[in-house]
């Protein structure tokens, strides 16, 4: 294989010129002729019966084009489905009408929509719609929702229990705990993984247009997965799939929140069809906080059994996952498949028993937020391993090292049944310890607090599951779709190329990394390659961008398609060179007979002949393009070690994050600049969960953090300069050797921070604190106000 020129190169992004000059087009930038604007009227109550809706005043308002209520939509558009039907869980899927008909189930549930000539008028008119509610007692806490006598949110879902899902071997686990009670230790802890709000800086937006002449529905749409959106748009609106075109223009961040198919998109499409004019709907931020999915929100009781020398032998636990009022698109799979299967982390823990209760509450639906289930799992295992170390008075680095899956055991089948593809956890740990100068820090710590400031060091040695994923596995775990990816590489007569991907990047930089891949495979100048994504009328069926799958699965499809182009070009080149195909070599864009590099045909010359087709070899069709559909044989399992160094002020409770070291192993690296960017962005989201962020509801279901002024989206000055480095353990089954890096930072960093803060507070007898670790929470713990977190 020729040495790659661009794979591994720090190339600046080709996406950027349009983005830094204001020439990019996001959904809300579009203004098709005849555009109208929609405003959705939403419930101010967490749970209520709708007694009456009076739209007459609004209808008379000048500039109003149409108003629809839930009753108007009934029978005309289908309920919003969930797409992850986890098996063996008795999953309940109560109907989710696009607009509520008689009952609203969370603050933000849509009840009516106004369409008007401009956005101001739409909002004015929305204020004139009178909705009479009969408020009902609401429940927002998932454990309270399961109690006897709690408000019942859906008929036919007793106890608000959407599902009960479990894994593991109860008998073997019980035996391991009994043995540990006798000869070892058992460590248990109650954990709260608080609810987060994703906060893509671009809110959701849709522009829908229906052509009654052709029957085509076009929707420009802030989605991470245009084909899934097309499929569900077709299912919900009844417009046949081949008549639906979804276009994801520039998408301003997603982090999982733009995976689901929301009621709002279907409502806007319905309006466009009903009024025969294009309709735009763009959330405002507060609306986004109430109506776009939230993430996390787990309550967990966890315990581990370990030997006295620190080998963890079993893990047992129960999690109560808050799903919100309705099942969002992927919601059932997030706290189960994406969470439960990763609980033993990077350790050889042989026994597990775990149960997850998925619970409806009167809150905004919860679905995949960056990491989706894996941050919650990593938080649990990385916190409890620290608790084992603390109880045994061992160094947390040593307990981890002792329990690591050894390098020679890969592929390694975990107690949960996953086959980790490759790993070498020791070198990443060693590198991180060296970077942070661990020994010196521990010595410094022994000297005690300085000026009331306590030094803490926290580790997180994580592994995550990426590159979603083998379609057969997706089917086996109830995901209602495949998880392969598609690519087309099309050469043009002038020797330029277009690469089409079924993935849908929205900031991750694959227009650049994918061009790097194609340039290497075909020996083309990178500027001669265009990467196209996001438009269902242009690209083959694909499953989109999430789960750190775009480069792993989409990139693999792309390299296979490019190789097919090269194979066909080789046949044509051999014919042009009057040589046997087996004697023709390809090197950096040139075909020649082995030993005669001077008489070469360039890929551009060969491409032209492929299109002219005046003299092609027998059996070779004109043109030069190829497609590939890549279904991975396994997931990929990136890993690494993150270390946080904090100072905690015992007087004020203030946590000062002094340093952060991240050593990640995401397999082979295509573009180190982009990988660093992905890591940094993930870190900030994960660190912010530990220190700053948290969605809060009042007991009656009002979102108290309902605006950006109330929810702590972190700022630049809240972070130190991160130190990043890598080890490189290629995935053995991926054609590019890549593993994915989109979520590592978020998954790894949260427990590193909490471990560091708890480490700093050890002298106070504090063994655990729930997030976010605000000064108030830390101060209360330090000053004995939160007794349950103190050691007995």
């Amino acid at each position: 294989m020729a040495v790659s020129k661009l794979f591994g190169a720090k190339i600046k992004r080709r996406e950027d010129p349009r983005l830094i000059t204001g020439k990019a087009t996001y959904t809300d930038d579009l203004q098709p002729a005849g555009l109208t604007h929609a405003q959705i009227i939403r419930s101010p109550h967490a749970y209520a019966r709708i007694k009456r809706i009076d739209v007459e005043a609004a209808r008379r308002h000048p500039g109003v084009v149409a108003i629809f209520t839930g009753k108007d939509l009934q029978g005309k558009i289908n309920p919003i489905p969930t797409a992850w039907l986890i098996p063996n869980s008795d999953l309940k899927t109560p109907p989710h009408p696009a607009l509520a008909v008689d009952t609203v189930r969370y603050v933000g549930d849509g009840v009516a929509v106004v369409v008007a000539e401009d956005r101001y008028t739409a909002r004015d008119a929305a204020g004139l719609v009178r909705v009479e509610y009969e408020p009902l007692p609401a429940v927002v806490d998932q454990q309270k929702a399961m109690e006897r006598g709690a408000p019942q949110i859906h008929t036919d879902v007793p106890g608000n229990l959407a599902f009960k899902w479990g894994l593991g071997n109860a008998e073997a686990t019980t035996a391991a705990f009994k043995a540990a009670e006798r000869d070892g230790i058992v460590v248990s802890q109650h954990f709260v993984n608080q609810r987060l709000i994703p906060n893509a800086i671009e809110t959701r937006s849709v522009v829908a247009q229906y052509n009654s002449g052709s029957g085509e529905l076009t929707a420009w749409y802030t989605t991470q997965n245009p084909h899934i959106a097309r499929f569900l748009m077709s299912v919900v609106t009844g417009v046949p799939e081949h008549k639906v075109r979804i276009i994801a223009p520039e998408v301003g961040g997603g982090f999982g929140s733009k995976i689901p198919f929301y009621a709002d998109e279907a409502i806007v499409a319905f309006c466009a069809k009903a009024i025969g004019r294009p309709v735009k709907w763009t959330e405002d931020r507060s609306e986004n906080y109430h109506s776009t999915i939230h993430g996390r929100d787990h309550i967990t009781d966890l315990e581990v059994a370990a030997t006295r020398d620190g080998m963890v032998t079993a893990l047992r636990g129960k999690t109560w996952a808050n799903l919100g009022a309705y099942l969002s698109t992927a919601a059932p799979g997030v706290p189960t498949i994406l969470h439960g299967l990763m609980l033993t982390g990077c350790y050889t823990i042989p026994n597990i028993e775990y149960v997850v209760y998925g619970v409806f509450t009167n809150t905004t639906p919860v679905d995949a937020y960056r990491g989706a289930g894996r941050p919650e799992a990593t938080y649990l295992i990385e916190r409890i391993v620290d608790l084992v170390a603390a109880q045994l008075k061992m160094d947390p680095a040593e307990v981890r090292r002792k329990n690591f899956i050894p390098k020679d055991k890969f592929p390694y089948t975990t107690a949960e049944g996953l086959a980790y593809d490759s790993g070498d956890y020791g070198p990443a740990l060693d590198k991180a310890l060296a970077m942070v100068d661990y020994t010196r820090l521990r010595n410094e710590q022994k000297r005690g607090p300085k000026g009331g400031k306590h030094l803490g060091v926290g580790l997180s040695t994580y592994v995550e599951i990426c590159g979603l994923g083998p379609s057969a596995v997706a089917g086996a775990v109830g995901f209602q779709g495949g998880l392969w990816e598609s690519a087309v590489v099309r050469m043009h007569p002038t020797g330029k190329a277009t690469a089409f991907t079924g993935a849908s990047p929205h900031g991750q930089g694959e227009e650049t990394t994918f061009a790097q891949i194609v340039a290497d495979e075909l020996g083309l100048p990178i500027d001669d390659i265009e990467v196209v994504h996001g438009d269902t009328a242009q690209i083959p069926m694909g499953w989109g961008t999430y789960g750190s799958r775009t480069t792993v699965v989409g990139g693999a499809a792309l390299v296979l398609a490019a190789r097919r182009v090269r194979e066909k070009a080789t046949k044509i080149a051999a014919h042009m060179l009057e040589a046997a195909e087996k004697d023709v070599v390809f090197d950096q864009g040139r075909f020649y007979v082995r030993g005669s590099p001077d008489r070469a045909k360039t890929i551009q010359e060969v491409t032209l002949q492929a299109y002219l087709a005046w003299n092609l070899p027998q059996g070779v069709e004109p043109s030069l393009e190829a497609s590939a559909f890549y279904d991975p044989s396994n997931f990929t399992f990136p890993f690494g070690t993150h270390i946080a160094v904090v100072e905690v002020d015992g007087e004020t409770g203030q946590v000062d994050l002094k340093r952060y070291v991240a050593v990640d192993d995401c397999g082979r690296v295509i573009n180190p600049l982009i990988v660093d960017g992905q890591v940094h962005g993930g870190l900030v989201q994960g660190i912010a969960q530990a220190l700053y962020e948290g969605a809060a509801y009042s007991p009656d279901g009002q979102l108290l953090t309902g605006t950006m002024a109330d929810y702590a989206v972190p700022k630049a000055h809240m972070f130190p300069h991160f130190a990043t480095d890598r080890t490189e353990t290629p995935s053995p089954h991926n054609p590019l050797g890549v593993k994915g890096v989109g979520e590592t930072g978020t998954i790894a960093s949260t427990p590193a921070i909490v471990n560091a803060v708890v480490d700093a507070l050890r002298s106070y007898g504090i063994t655990h604190l729930d997030m976010p670790l605000t000064p108030e929470r830390v101060w209360n713990a330090v000053h004995g106000k939160t007794r349950e977190v103190k050691a007995q």
Binding site: K12, R13, E15, D16, P17, L19, I20, T21, G22, K23, A24, T25, Y26, D28, D29, Q31, D118, R119, Y120, N199, A200, I201, E202, T203, E250, V251, G252, G253, F255, D284, R285, S286, H506, G507, Q508, G509, L673, I674, D676, G677, V679, H680, G681, G682, L683, V684, Q685, T707, M708, A709, V713, K715, A716, H717, F719, H721, F722, G745
Partner: protein, 165 residues
């Protein structure tokens, strides 16, 4: 009742009759078609709508168009001159200072204001200077690098201009 508003945007004079309640950002985006300036929140927190008004960074979602009457405005579309990127744009490109790009126009306009006031900022001054701008993608580190890159370049250009003057 509509009111007349005259603004100069990126050196071009505009005159429009607008509703008194029209937000400046909507004048830019919906009336003038300058969609490079974005809206990311409704509480003046995110800074995606940041532009320069009479040379100073302001949040165009928090000002009425009529309040800008007579003002000179600069948006992201006005950064590049004669097809040449502004050093701040170069910095963001070179240092991977953006991912989804949605916060970027506001970030760059804030950076311009910052560098006009503080030509040689420390990392901490940059981080504090970005207090009114949120980015959810980059983790800010590459944005800091981008602004440092731009600062070096702008100081170099300034020194050169000083010498030739």
């Amino acid at each position: 009742m509509k009111r007349p508003v005259k603004v100069t945007v990126n050196g071009v004079a505009h005159s429009h009759e607008v509703e008194p309640r029209l937000l400046l950002v909507h004048l830019l985006r919906d009336v003038l078609g300058l969609t490079g300036t974005h809206v990311g929140c409704d509480t003046s927190n995110c800074g995606a709508c940041t532009i320069l008004m009479n040379g100073k960074a302001i949040k165009s979602c928090t000002l009425l168009a009529v309040q800008a009457d007579g003002a000179s405005l600069m948006t992201v579309e006005g950064l590049a001159q004669d097809g040449n990127l502004h050093p701040i744009q170069e910095g963001f490109w070179e240092e991977h200072g953006l991912q989804c790009g949605f916060c970027t126009p506001g970030m760059m306009m804030t950076a311009l204001d910052l560098l006009q006031r503080t030509p040689d900022p420390t990392e901490q001054q940059i981080r504090m200077g970005l207090e009114g701008n949120l980015c959810r993608c980059t983790g800010y580190q590459h944005i800091v690098n981008s602004i440092q890159h731009a600062a070096r370049k702008m100081r170099g250009a300034g020194a050169k201009a000083g010498r030739s003057a």
